[in-house]
């Protein structure tokens, strides 16, 4: 099948599966609306959805960029300073175990109800996957390269930046892929915690008003954006790391 046909066919299959589930659950559209209902709502309410979608997309992108920068920076710090690693790592793990909603009021208190808290939430949710994946990559550097760099008289920082970092880029890319897929949920949870706009807010509202098709229409927009973003990032990463073997590419 030619490549350009794949996305529409996938879409069609997902819609069919969805419709199957709808029928299976007894056509109760307040639990799960049918795809057609949802698409109808999507078309009819597009003018409502679009501005909310815009807000969420900005949050996702900002959160993604900041989260990756922060996660990347933390991983570098961890790799560079053994003491930092020993003391910070447990704190990082602990921070992961704290559910967002527990600290949400604090976050909102610090960052307000605007963009800030949502970006922070998206950041927080991708921070650990990025940090852990990248740090793991930094730990696994080919020892021969490190020996060579040592004899060459490279400082800790130079070795980190010129050898360990590029060697860890495939692992970082792996973390980035996860982050890309997870960032949207971060933004939506952020909106749930406190907001006055965004797809997450719209979903909450629609849910409370029992406008379940509208909620699923918002979900659809979110999902479409997520897939597009993931495809973009995946493609970009593969072009940026041409030396990494990838059986995908040969296809």
């Amino acid at each position: 099948m030619p490549g350009f046909l794949r996305p529409p066919v996938t879409l069609a299959m997902v819609l069919l599966l969805w419709h199957g589930a709808y029928i299976l659950m007894g056509r109760q559209s307040y639990l799960l609306p049918s795809p057609w209902q949802t698409l109808e709502t999507l078309a009819a309410r597009w003018s409502t959805l679009a501005p909310h979608a815009g807000v969420t997309i900005v949050e996702i992108l900002l959160g993604l960029v900041l989260g990756c920068l922060l996660g990347g920076g933390t991983a570098l710090l961890l790799a560079l300073f053994r003491p930092v690693r020993r003391w910070l790592m447990p704190v990082l793990v602990v921070s992961q175990a704290i559910p967002v909603f527990a600290i949400a009021p604090l976050l909102v208190l610090w960052l307000g109800y605007g963009l800030g808290s949502k970006v922070a939430m998206a950041m927080l949710i991708i921070y650990f996957p990025v940090t852990a994946a990248f740090f793991d990559g930094l730990r696994r550097t080919e020892p021969g390269w490190l020996d060579l760099a040592r004899v060459m008289g490279g400082g800790r920082l130079a070795v980190l930046l010129r050898i360990r970092l590029p060697a860890a880029l495939p692992a970082f890319a792996s973390g980035l892929r996860v982050a890309t897929a997870v960032a949207p949920i971060g933004a939506v949870v952020g909106e749930w915690v406190g907001s006055s706009a965004g797809l997450g807010y719209l979903m909450l509202q629609a849910n409370a008003r029992m406008q379940v098709p509208l909620m699923f229409a918002a979900l659809l927009v979110l999902a479409a954006f997520s897939v597009a973003l993931y495809a973009l990032v995946d493609h970009g990463l593969r072009r940026l790391l041409p030396w990494v073997p990838d059986d995908h590419r040969e296809a």
């Binding site: 659950m25 007894g26 109760q28 559209s29 307040y30 639990l31 909603f101 949400a104 009021p105 909102v108 208190l109 307000g112 109800y113 909106e191 749930w192 915690v193 406190g194 907001s195 006055s196 807010y201 909450l204 509202q205 849910n207 409370a208 008003r209 029992m210 406008q211 379940v212």
Partner: protein, 293 residues
Amino acid sequence: AEKMTVLLDWFVNPDHAPLVVAKEKGFFADAGLEVELIAPADPNDPPKLVAAGKADVAVGYQPQLHLQAAEGLPLKRIGTLVATPLNSVVTLSDSGIDSLGDLKGKKVGFSVGGFEDALLGTMLADAGLTLKDVELVNVNFALSPALMSGQVDAVIGAFRNFELNQLAIEGRTGVAFYPEEHGVPPYDELILLANAGKLDDARLRPFVEAVERGTHYLVNHPDESWQLFVKAYPDLDDELNKRAWADTLPRFDLTPAALDRGRYERFAAYLKAQGMIDAAPELSTYAVELPIR
């Protein structure tokens, strides 16, 4: 005894006192029922699950019922727990907001319930303002913290029996504005919902009557019933719940099985006028008085 699953609207709290007392005093058992109370985390889920046949009875809100009925959920109100609105707009006494008119240009926090904008719009109209004059912010369930920390100037969705006490315990004084005093027709805050297709279920009428017994016991023996409550839920034995308990007592419906048709039709008309629903369905399709069997 026949098993029955009741989904609460929220975690167990003094609003559920008639149910708890009926259970603890054995009124349900007397009616041949073994009732399990389940707390959800999202108040919107219980009606859906009852509509889907996953539970027998749900605790819901009258305003939501109208929306649910308009969206075609197969639900019927079969009883009332709390017969007055609990919802209110709350500000802090030191905020300089003495009337609804002072809200102009302020931030109002809310916990998404689906019709805050209608409610607040009506109340603001009463003070000569419109919704455009305030900024609405979803603060989820952190109503009091948002208010106390100054993130918002007022909140809507605060329960008068709860948030006011909470503020008082933290040493702050809250001021409440009551919707029914500012142009919103009075309604039942907490009602009991059953699946519209299962109204011939023989357990429903005895269930509502047991709730009625519970309510009466509660009103007659407030202290004993408080003891029952904290014995069943030792976690709730604190100052806040004790105060809320007292404040909630006068608001329980002493005739839970009875349906005030006028009140429901009036509220449906109000929501329609607000544009919240396109058309009000025939009342009997979503609220009934269960016949005696």
